[in-house]
Structures are given as structure tokens and as C-alpha cells.
């Protein structure tokens, strides 16, 4: 009988407090009153959606960074898996990092690591879409086509549900690339939400001395007074036709015209994009790379009030081991590429960025996310004997700020870094976490072009990562 009871309890998985509740609950039936206990429970659930942060910086490492050679090293894995690099100790007791990120080792305590990111999509465009939209692609297709049938970028959903408070600033800014693997990766724009929620996209290199925004730069022939004259003439003509009073659409277009002119003439937005206002020393510390200066720009934009900033590491996935530009797709020469290019860049920029943000107190109200669309295969040898193949089954993502438990390592991978040994975290969960941090209920619905209600995220917010 005891065995039976025991069995019963597990089978019913009725925790004690729940039974208690049941009793209390039925007691309440007499007065047809809701037990206070439940009421409290309910309020708590709603309060959970108070925003934790004002802004999000989403750093996307295009190509799929090797988790095994960076944050989740496996020195005890067999030869042929563990790789060339050695782990070194970090500011977190007992936690190691790759020897080629010595600066990072000193700031690791700022970050929360998710070691159990997992999905099953093996192609970059499809996996990249999953990562930046938070929705699983319909097919695992190397050239997944963007259309309104796919989901919008996380940032677009944010600008729909929690736009920035300053109308002179865009809610969602992305730069310095549109990512592509052959064809453009879906999920970077607003899809069915509509063009109003597209990111303010900047395809310029912030590391170049002539970095400027074409939209916000008038040609020399167009002085501000000339623009003013022009606007005056439009007003005069518009008054003749009375279309503005007759139509909300026309009046709306007029307001956009006003806003565009004020953006062109005001200095606020231009200042936010003006990296020359940063001390040279700090710019050097971020790294004089497209990525380094982009991260600095992200910080400036968030400071000025932009809600969501996405920085793409590179335009293309990889460089075939040839050095130069490109992403993290190290099918060839994984080790030399990581050691000579990818890790030095990361080790230059990320520690500077986190310390810069921390010293400015920005980590209280900003969530920083660092992730790629997949990890790399434990087994060494892919397109050349030194390469690692695609591996979405287990990889590491980092978050910091916004009340995330700094220094926490969430979950663990197995002894070769191949699979999570604890509950896996899907990109859906990461997007749900981002939404919740911004005070958006991940179960909120958006309407697609066919009028169907769709949840903004199918994931579960990782509340356990936050204090």
C-alpha cells in the first residue's frame, strides 16, 4: 500500500502545496469568493510582465561560432574532438575560457552563459532565420526564401509591441550588414507586420572615416533653408486641395513628411550616429573593426533611446579559411581562423563593451545578447582536416544585464559538447526571454497577412536566469 501511495503521488505529480490549495479552494466555494491565495498568484503572474529593461542589444555571430573552442571547452574529450586550444581560468572560479581570449577571461563574471542552446536546423539561412526571428523555419533549406509567410525579426515585433518612446528615433536599428548565405537570410525585417516595423537599416561601415547615413545627409546643393522653402511650398499646395482634412491617410503621410524633415534638420539622431564624438581611446579599445565600431554604435544608440539594436558580425557566413572578412563558418582551418581572426576580434570588442556598459550603469536597463545560429561539430575534420562542421544540437549563447544572474552557467553539455545534458534551450525560449525582459508577454498575438492570430513566441521565458 505504501508503494502504491508513493507511486500514486509521483504519477499524479501533485505537489503538496497544490493539494493544500485544492482544499482551500473548495472552502472558498461557499462564499463564491476567490481565495486570496489564488488572487495573489494571479497578480504575481501579471506583474512578471513589468519590463526589466528599456533596450536590447542583439549581437548576431553569423556563421555559427564554435562553442567547443571558445566558451564550452572540453579538454578531456578525445583527441580529434577537443581541439588545439587550452582552457584558462577566468574571473569566475571554476569556469574556463579559451586561452585566446585572455581579456574576456577577466570579464566573464558579467555574463550569464546558456550552454544548452539547441535546435535541429543545419542550414545557415534557415537556422539564422530561427535565431533572429525566434521561430522555427518551415523547412531546413539552404536558400530559405523570405516572404510574408515567415515571421518578422524579434526587433520588429518589439517595435510593434513596445516601440521606443521618442518619435524622432527609430525603435529598431540594424547594421552594418544584411546577412546572406547565397540569398538573403529571412527574418531580418518586419515581414507581415508591415513596413512600419522594418528596422532602420544602415548598410554602412561605422569603421570607415566617411561613415554617415545617406537618408540623413542632404547633398551639398540642398541647404537647410532650401529644404525649408520646399516644405513651405508643399504646405501651400496642400492647403489648396484640402486633402489633409479629408483623409487620415494623407494626413499621416504629411506627418511622416514633417518627421523626415525634422530628422534631416535636427541634430539628435545625427549625434547618436556620430562616432567621432567618442574619445579615440575608447574607439581603439572597442577595436578598429567593422564589428568593434558597430558595437560601439549600438551602445550609443541605446543610450539615446533606441529600443532594439541588432549588430550582425559579418555579411557572409565564412571565408573558407582564407582570412579577411566573413563569419564564423569554419569548415576549414577552424583553429587558425579562430585564433588569428575571430577570437582576437571578439576578445578586443566584447570585454571593452561590457566594461563600458557596466561603468555607465547601462547594464541595469539593457539586455545584451550574444549568440550565433548554431555551434560547431565536436568531431574535427570537415572540408579540411582542421575544420568543424555545422552543429545546431548544442551551442552556447551569452546574455548580460537586465537582471540576468551574472556569472550563472545555465545547463551543461555532455563530455564532448555534442548534446545538452540538462533541459535544452531553443531559440524560441531565447526570444521569449527577450520579449519578457522588455515587458512583452511572449504569448501576445500578432496578425499575419491572412488574418491569422499567431503567438509572437512559442517559447518559454527563462525566468530562472534572472534575479
Amino acid at each position: 500500500m505504501t508503494i502504491r501511495d508513493e507511486h500514486l503521488r509521483t504519477a499524479l505529480s501533485l505537489p503538496v502545496h497544490r493539494r493544500h490549495l485544492l482544499t482551500v479552494g473548495f472552502g472558498g466555494l461557499f462564499g463564491l469568493n476567490l481565495p486570496n491565495l489564488l488572487k495573489a498568484d494571479d497578480t504575481a503572474a501579471r506583474n512578471g510582465l513589468a519590463p526589466r529593461v528599456k533596450s536590447v542589444i542583439f549581437l548576431h555571430q553569423w556563421g555559427g561560432p564554435s562553442h567547443i573552442d571558445t566558451f564550452d571547452m572540453k579538454p578531456n574529450a578525445p583527441v580529434g574532438m577537443r581541439g588545439d586550444f587550452n582552457p584558462i581560468s577566468t574571473s569566475l572560479p571554476g569556469v574556463t575560457i579559451c586561452e585566446h581570449m585572455p581579456r574576456f577571461s577577466k570579464v566573464l563574471h558579467h555574463f550569464t552563459q546558456i550552454r544548452t542552446m539547441q535546435h535541429r536546423i543545419k542550414n545557415h539561412n534557415a537556422a539564422g532565420y530561427y535565431c533572429i526571428s525566434g521561430h522555427a523555419p518551415p523547412i531546413d533549406d539552404q536558400r530559405l526564401r523570405d516572404s510574408q509567410e515567415l515571421f518578422p525579426a524579434i526587433g520588429s515585433v518589439v517595435s510593434r509591441f513596445r516601440p521606443g518612446s521618442d518619435p524622432a528615433l527609430p525603435s529598431f536599428v540594424s547594421f552594418p550588414h544584411k546577412i546572406a548565405d547565397g540569398s538573403q537570410t529571412p527574418g531580418q525585417f518586419a515581414s507581415f507586420l508591415g513596413k512600419s516595423y522594418d528596422p532602420f537599416y544602415i548598410g554602412q561601415d561605422p569603421n570607415k572615416s566617411d561613415f554617415r547615413l545617406p537618408e540623413l545627409s542632404l547633398p551639398e546643393s540642398m541647404t537647410l533653408s532650401r529644404l525649408d522653402d520646399r516644405r513651405g511650398l508643399v504646405r501651400m499646395i496642400d492647403q489648396q486641395a484640402r486633402l489633409l482634412e479629408d483623409s487620415a491617410a494623407a494626413a499621416g503621410a504629411d506627418r511622416f513628411q514633417d518627421r523626415a524633415v525634422s530628422m534631416l534638420t535636427s541634430s539628435r539622431l545625427k549625434n547618436a550616429f556620430d562616432l567621432s564624438q567618442e574619445p579615440d581611446k575608447l574607439r581603439d579599445a572597442y577595436g578598429r573593426t567593422t564589428y568593434g565600431q558597430s558595437c560601439l554604435l549600438a551602445r550609443r544608440l541605446v543610450e539615446s533611446g533606441v529600443r532594439f539594436v541588432t549588430v550582425y558580425f559579418s555579411r557572409s557566413i565564412g571565408n573558407g579559411g582564407g582570412g579577411g572578412d566573413g563569419g564564423w563558418d569554419t569548415h576549414k582551418q577552424n583553429f587558425s581562423d579562430l585564433k588569428n581572426r575571430l577570437m582576437p576580434m571578439t576578445d578586443q570588442t566584447m570585454p571593452t563593451m561590457i566594461e563600458d556598459m557596466a561603468s555607465r550603469g547601462m547594464l541595469q536597463d539593457t539586455l545584451l545578447v550574444w549568440t550565433g545560429e548554431m555551434g560547431r561539430a565536436p568531431k574535427i575534420g570537415d572540408q579540411d582536416p582542421q575544420g568543424r562542421g555545422h552543429w545546431p544540437m548544442c551551442y552556447t549563447a551569452l546574455i548580460a544585464g537586465g537582471g540576468a544572474k551574472a556569472g550563472l552557467i545555465h545547463g551543461a553539455s555532455d563530455r564532448t559538447g555534442a548534446f545538452p545534458t540538462t533541459a535544452p534551450v531553443r531559440p524560441d525560449d531565447l526570444s521569449a526571454t527577450i520579449f519578457k525582459s522588455l515587458g512583452i508577454d511572449p504569448a501576445s498575438e500578432m496578425i499575419d497577412s491572412l488574418g491569422r492570430p499567431l503567438p509572437i513566441s512559442a517559447g518559454r521565458p527563462l525566468d530562472e536566469l534572472f534575479t
Binding site: 500514486l8 499524479l12 485544492l22 479552494g25 472558498g28 533549406d141 540569398s183 523626415a260
Partner: protein
């Protein structure tokens, strides 16, 4: 074994209960049972619909593919038997306890007695609580073989006009008529959807409450049955007097009849110049030239507008413009069609509209043509729709105005379409094969790229497996007869579908196309969105839709006769400026719709107004943007920003009609506009020359070419003053032209 667990569990529970509470509760249940009309609660007819009504089995909740909180139900109760098993047998029977009904999770969780992520759905004493608890008390049985099937859902009132001063509350009643001849009131089990939730609410028991005058449609669903109730709460317009309007067409009669009932007044007719500009933009997508305007202005004939319409319908731009609209819908896009395929298909479409073929023939050709897409371009329909499911969705959306997509994975929630309808239609296209000739991909990993010719052919029998039931379905048009068993020739399924679609009995084909033509010319469908015909989205003016359908049929299913009749109507000629008193809205068609022009039209009229010829790479052989075959924007940001669709969906909604900040930037400072303004050979050189001896004529020429009207005195004076104080006349004229291009009158169809 299971039962003993259950007993054990309930006994545990029982010990913890106040005995009195139990006694009272049971007494309460007993009393409710006595109230019920026919005594026995049906799982399928009451409990399951109730769960649907409460939203328990909706997508975000337990109807989700993965369920919620460990409970997974079929979406909106599609799979009754499984749901019954899930509720009564799974989770060790905790969800439903017949011996201690009140311990059932099915009552305790939504009843607010246990924590429930989905919140409290009912309370003790609610009718919902009564239904579920009675069902449990009675043994929680399923009733799969019940003789009763739902035959009809009767919603009362079907339509009601509530006079001002009356209570703004209407009680909606839903009666289910069963196959055994009996009827039951199922109001408390039905789901109510209001088409526009602002200003109105409806209770679970069908009590509709409006906060303001207005018009609402309440969609009602119960057990796969649908119905609507249309409710109009009239405004208090005591001194309303109808202003007599010329009724030129049946459309006018329909629109004015409704306005009279609503006691709203239409706008006055637009001025000749506004109307002329409008009809050029709507029929051809171009502007009238200053010369054409002058000729029209000085034409003394009373029916000069009708004559103008005749001339426009015969112009080649008409075919270009309507081919463009259909190329969007039929997804003539470069990746799958290849550049030659693009041009061939565009050419074919253009020919159809230029010859004004019957849309019956047009549809039949598209559906039944097989062979090479280069030599028989109508077969391109089967090239762009590369799998049976996509072909079915496109077919339903384009030719019938139905959105079938929902029914791919589950029965349509707000329509009659089931998964069987979906896969029955898809089966029609299931035996189509495509042979790619000389497909040299620029990117070998890109399976979507097909750039040579494609030969479409038919092989085998048109059949498809319905994934949920696993049954193989033969070809069947939605709402039509299944293809006969002995008729399985090679093209039998396609022919059968085309015959069904274009038969005179199929009213939906004509209704859908007539509605689309009205949408393109007037700016809003009578059914809106145009491809969302369903019971719960009825036409805003049924009489008007009937009139359109009749006109289309009488015109031999041809585009031009219907277009002629629409643009000749009084309704089409109304101005955008609302009536001073009791103004009608755009949705009533009582005033002209103001909407932003499409990307192609806008770029073309920027060029036309400025007299600019785009370089060859953007305008091969001098073609306008509206004439180009492909969907790609050739790197022109302008086109993308103004919403040129990529032609990946068969939905009019893919063409964005939003106004955005990016558009303002394009018009203010974008390359497309700047090039047109600053090009040395454009109209501005001519205007400068004219202005040398007659500045007023130059200003007039500018306004005529950009805004299709003469400038007002204010505009002439302001322009002259501006020119007079400018140092650089060329720049000053650029500024003036820029101002006309950025005027809302220019950017919007009005």
C-alpha cells in the same frame, strides 16, 4: 487498475474536504440537473463546443500542437473521440472524476479552484459550470453514434436596424436544427466574433451591446455551423433630408439605398479635373498630359467623360496595367520563372487584357494548359505553383476569393472549409509533373531557382493523402462534385476543375472577380479584404455585390464592360471631400477613397511630371515601371519602399499600401526623385524657357503636368513670389516641381 487509482485519489481528496462542502455542492449539482431541458448532457454537442467557446482548445491554449500544461486537445474540438479519451482517461483520470465530480481538474482548474495558467473561465453557478459538471455527474460518456447531426444554424436576428433613441442592446439567439427534426437553443454554446471590436461588446450569452451608432457583423459558430447577425445602430439625424443624386448604374442605386437607410449623405461629385486624373490613374496607371487636359476642358460635348472612358479603355496602357495586377497575383517572379519565362508570361497576360478575353476563358487556360511555359505561357500557373498545396491555395484565393491556407493543418476556424476540402482540391494538381529544361542555376544550392524552360505535364492519377485521416482523396473542387471514378484521363482532373469553376452555376467565380475589379477601381472591396469571402465576413453592401456580379456576367465575364460601368457610375465620380452634414464614409462608398499610389505608378508619374527618361537599365527600351515583367526592383529602393510586391504570395495584401517614414525620405531626398528633378534634359529646362516670357504659363504647365489641374490664384502668386526672390532660377524651379511631387494630391489617388 486505473479505476483503483482514481478511487484511491478521490478518497485522499475526500479526507481533506469539509464534509459539509461536499454535501452542499452535490445538492447544488442536483438542482442544476433538474433545470436542464432534456436531461442528458451530450459531450459532442455541448461539452466540446463549450470548451471551444471558452477558448480552451484554441491555438494559444490546449489546442496548440504541443498542448499547454500537459493537456493537449484537438484544435477547436476537431477530433472529438480523442479529446474525450484525453479528458476522461489520460493523466490517470484526474481530469474527470465521476465519483467525486468536483475534484475533476476539468472543473477545478478553469473554475478557479486550482492554479490555472489560462485564468478563470467560469465559476460555480455559471451555465458553463453547470454543463460540464452535469456531464461528469452523468458519467462523462462520449456519444459518438448519436443520430442527431447539425443541419442548420439559425441566428436571430439575421439583420436588424436599430432606430436612434432605442436601447443599444440586441440579444442574439442561436438555434440548432438537428437531423431528427428537433431544435435546441445553443446560444450559450456558440462562439461569437465581432468584426470590429471597437465600440461594441458581446456577452457569452449573446447579449450585444453597442457604445455608439455604427454597423457590426457578429459571426456565430457552433459545431462546424456558421451564421451571422448584422447589427446597425442608426445615428440620430433628426433633420436628415436625402439629397437627390443621379443614379447612372445599378451600383449607384445599391450604394444610395444603403446611405438613405443609414441617413448619411454622399459627397458632391468631384470636379472634372479631379475625376479625369482619377480615371487615368485607375484605368491606366498614368497621368493625363497637359494637352489632353486642355482638350478635355474645352470639349463641349455633354457626354465627354463617357467618351474619355471609351478612349482610355482602348489604350495599350490599360492592358499593361491590368497585366501588372494579375502578374502580382499569379506570381510572375524572376527566380522561379526565369527572365524569358517572365517576359513570355507577361506578354501572354497583356494579350489577354488587350483582347479583353472572357475571364472564364482566361481562368480555364491558366488551369488546364500544360506544356512548355515558353511556347504555351498559360502553363506558367503550374510553374509558379510548384506543389499541389500551393496550387490549391492560389486557385482558391485568386479565382474564388477564399483563404484556404488555414485548412491545410486544421479545419478552417471561421469558415466551412475542412481539411478534406483542402486536400480534395490539392489532389487536382497532384499529378502534375515539371521537367526543367536547361536549368543552369547561378547558385547550385538554390532549389528555388529555375531559369530555363519548364515543361509541365500530367502523369498518373490526381490523388492526394489527407494527412490527418491518412485517407487518399480524389480530386474535388471546393463545394463541387468529386471527379467521377471512371473519368481519369490525363487531364481529367484539371478539366473537371475548370468546368466546375467556369460553369454558370458557380456564382462565386463571378462574385470574386467582380469584387476585385471594384476593389482596383474604387479602392476597397465590397467584401474586404477581397480574398476573404466567408460567411463571417459578409459583403458590406450585398445589393451592390449582386449588382456587380450581374454586370460582370452580362458583360460576358469581360473586364472592360464592367470597368466601363464602374467608372461611369455616380459613386465613382464622387469627391473625396465629405458632405458638410451627415457625411458618408469611404467604407459606405459614399465618398471617393483616398489611397497612396502604387510603387510603379508613382515612379512612372514622377517621370511623367518631370519629363524624365530613366536610363536603359531601369527602363529597358523606354518601358515604364508598370510595363516591366519581372517583380524585382532592379535595385531601386524607391520601388521597395512604396510596396512593390515580390510576388511570393497570391494575395493582394502583399502589395503594401502603408504610408511610412521611409517613403517620406524617398520623396524628399531619394535618388529616384533627385535624378528626375536634376536631369538636365527634363521638363524644367522647358519651364525655365517658358518662364522667361510668360511665368504664369510656365507655372500653369507645371501644375497641369503634375497635379492635372490649373494652379489657384494663391498658388500662382506664391510661386511667382518664390521665383522672384530666388537667385538661381533652375534651382528655384526644381524646388517648385519638388513641391508638386510632394503634395498629397500628387502622392494619393483621390
Amino acid at each position: 487498475m486505473r479505476l483503483s487509482f482514481l478511487r484511491n485519489f478521490t478518497s485522499t481528496i475526500r479526507q481533506r474536504f469539509c464534509l459539509l462542502a461536499l454535501v452542499c455542492l452535490m445538492a447544488g449539482l442536483g438542482a442544476e440537473r433538474a433545470d436542464a431541458s432534456d436531461g442528458v448532457v451530450s459531450f459532442r454537442r455541448e461539452v466540446l463546443p463549450l470548451l471551444t467557446k471558452l477558448g480552451c482548445n484554441s491555438g494559444p491554449c490546449h489546442g496548440n500542437l504541443t498542448g499547454k500544461g500537459g493537456l493537449r486537445l484537438s484544435l477547436r474540438g476537431e477530433d472529438a473521440q480523442n479529446d474525450w479519451l484525453t479528458l476522461t482517461h489520460d493523466a490517470y483520470g484526474r481530469r474527470v472524476s465521476t465519483s467525486v465530480p468536483e475534484a475533476s481538474l476539468l472543473l477545478a482548474k478553469p473554475g478557479g479552484l486550482m492554479p490555472h495558467e489560462g485564468g478563470i473561465k467560469f465559476r460555480n453557478g455559471d451555465s458553463s459550470f453547470r454543463v460540464i459538471s452535469q456531464w461528469i455527474v452523468q458519467g462523462a460518456t462520449d456519444d459518438p453514434n448519436q443520430a442527431k447531426q447539425l443541419e442548420q444554424l439559425k441566428v436571430t436576428p439575421g439583420q436588424v436596424w436599430v432606430e436612434p433613441g432605442n436601447d443599444k442592446t440586441v440579444r442574439i439567439q442561436v438555434l440548432a436544427r438537428w437531423s431528427d427534426g428537433t431544435s435546441t437553443d445553443v446560444t450559450h454554446l456558440s462562439v461569437f466574433d465581432i468584426n470590429e471590436t471597437s465600440g461594441a461588446t458581446i456577452s457569452a450569452l449573446g447579449e450585444f451591446q453597442a457604445d455608439r451608432p455604427g454597423e457590426w457583423v457578429v459571426g456565430v459558430r457552433y459545431l462546424g455551423g456558421h451564421g451571422v447577425s448584422r447589427l446597425v445602430f442608426l445615428e440620430d439625424n433628426p433633420d436628415f433630408v436625402w439629397k437627390e443624386m443621379t443614379e447612372r448604374t445599378a451600383f449607384d442605386k445599391a450604394v444610395f439605398n444603403k446611405l438613405k437607410r443609414l441617413r448619411r449623405l454622399p459627397s458632391a461629385e468631384a470636379t472634372a479635373n479631379v475625376l479625369m486624373r482619377r480615371v487615368y490613374l485607375d484605368l491606366l496607371g498614368v497621368l493625363p498630359t497637359p494637352g489632353e487636359i486642355q482638350a478635355y476642358e474645352s470639349d463641349p460635348a455633354p457626354e465627354k467623360y463617357e467618351k474619355l472612358v471609351e478612349r482610355l479603355l482602348d489604350r495599350p496602357e490599360f492592358a499593361d496595367f491590368w497585366a501588372l495586377k494579375w502578374a502580382d497575383l499569379l506570381r510572375n517572379e524572376p527566380k522561379v520563372m526565369g527572365s524569358k519565362g517572365n517576359w513570355q508570361f507577361q506578354r501572354w497576360l497583356r494579350d489577354q487584357f488587350s483582347q479583353d478575353v472572357s475571364m472564364k476563358e482566361f481562368a480555364r487556360e491558366l488551369i488546364t494548359t500544360t506544356g512548355s511555359t515558353w511556347s504555351a505561357p498559360a502553363s506558367s500557373f503550374h510553374r509558379t505553383n510548384r506543389d499541389p498545396a500551393t496550387a490549391a491555395e492560389t486557385f482558391a484565393q485568386v479565382f474564388l476569393g477564399y483563404r484556404f491556407q488555414c485548412a491545410k493543418c486544421h479545419n478552417h476556424p471561421s469558415d466551412i472549409w475542412t481539411q478534406n476540402d483542402y486536400y480534395g482540391l490539392a489532389a487536382t494538381f497532384a499529378n502534375l509533373r515539371r521537367k526543367e529544361i536547361n536549368n543552369v542555376r547561378r547558385d547550385r544550392f538554390d532549389k528555388h531557382e529555375v531559369n530555363g524552360d519548364v515543361v509541365v505535364y500530367v502523369q498518373g492519377r490526381a490523388q492526394m493523402v489527407q494527412p490527418r485521416t491518412g485517407l487518399t482523396l480524389d480530386s474535388k473542387p471546393p463545394g463541387g462534385q468529386m471527379l467521377k471514378d471512371d473519368d481519369h484521363g490525363p487531364n481529367a482532373a484539371l478539366d473537371h476543375l475548370a468546368n466546375w469553376l467556369t460553369s454558370d452555376q458557380n456564382r462565386q467565380f463571378a462574385r470574386n472577380l467582380a469584387n476585385r475589379v471594384w476593389f482596383h477601381l474604387v479602392g476597397r472591396g465590397v467584401v474586404d479584404p477581397v480574398d476573404d469571402f466567408r460567411d463571417s465576413n459578409p459583403p458590406s453592401n450585398p445589393e451592390l455585390l449582386d449588382a456587380l456580379e450581374n454586370a460582370f456576367i452580362e458583360g460576358g465575364y469581360r473586364l472592360k464592360p464592367l470597368a466601363r460601368q464602374i467608372v461611369s457610375s455616380t459613386v465613382y465620380r464622387l469627391g473625396a471631400h465629405p458632405s458638410e452634414k451627415y457625411p458618408a464614409t469611404e467604407a459606405d462608398f459614399g465618398r471617393s477613397t483616398v489611397r497612396i499610389l502604387s510603387a510603379e505608378v508613382l515612379r512612372d508619374i514622377v517621370d511623367q511630371a518631370t519629363g524624365y527618361q530613366r536610363p536603359n537599365e531601369l527602363a529597358p527600351n523606354g518601358q515604364r515601371a508598370g510595363q516591366l515583367a519581372a517583380a524585382n526592383t532592379r535595385g531601386e529602393e524607391f520601388m521597395k519602399v512604396f510596396g512593390k510586391p515580390e510576388r511570393l504570395l497570391s494575395c493582394e495584401c502583399e502589395r503594401s499600401e502603408e504610408t511610412t517614414l521611409a517613403q517620406a525620405f524617398q520623396m524628399i531626398n531619394g535618388q529616384t526623385v533627385r535624378e528626375a528633378l536634376e536631369s538636365p534634359g527634363n521638363r524644367i529646362s522647358r519651364l525655365l524657357e517658358m518662364a522667361g516670357h510668360d511665368p504664369e504659363a510656365a507655372i500653369s504647365e507645371l501644375f497641369m503636368s503634375a497635379l492635372s489641374r490649373r494652379p489657384t490664384t494663391t498658388e500662382v502668386n506664391a510661386s511667382r513670389a518664390f521665383l522672384a526672390r530666388s537667385m538661381n532660377q533652375r534651382k528655384a524651379w526644381e524646388d517648385l516641381v519638388w513641391a508638386t511631387l510632394n503634395a498629397k494630391e500628387f502622392l494619393f489617388r483621390h
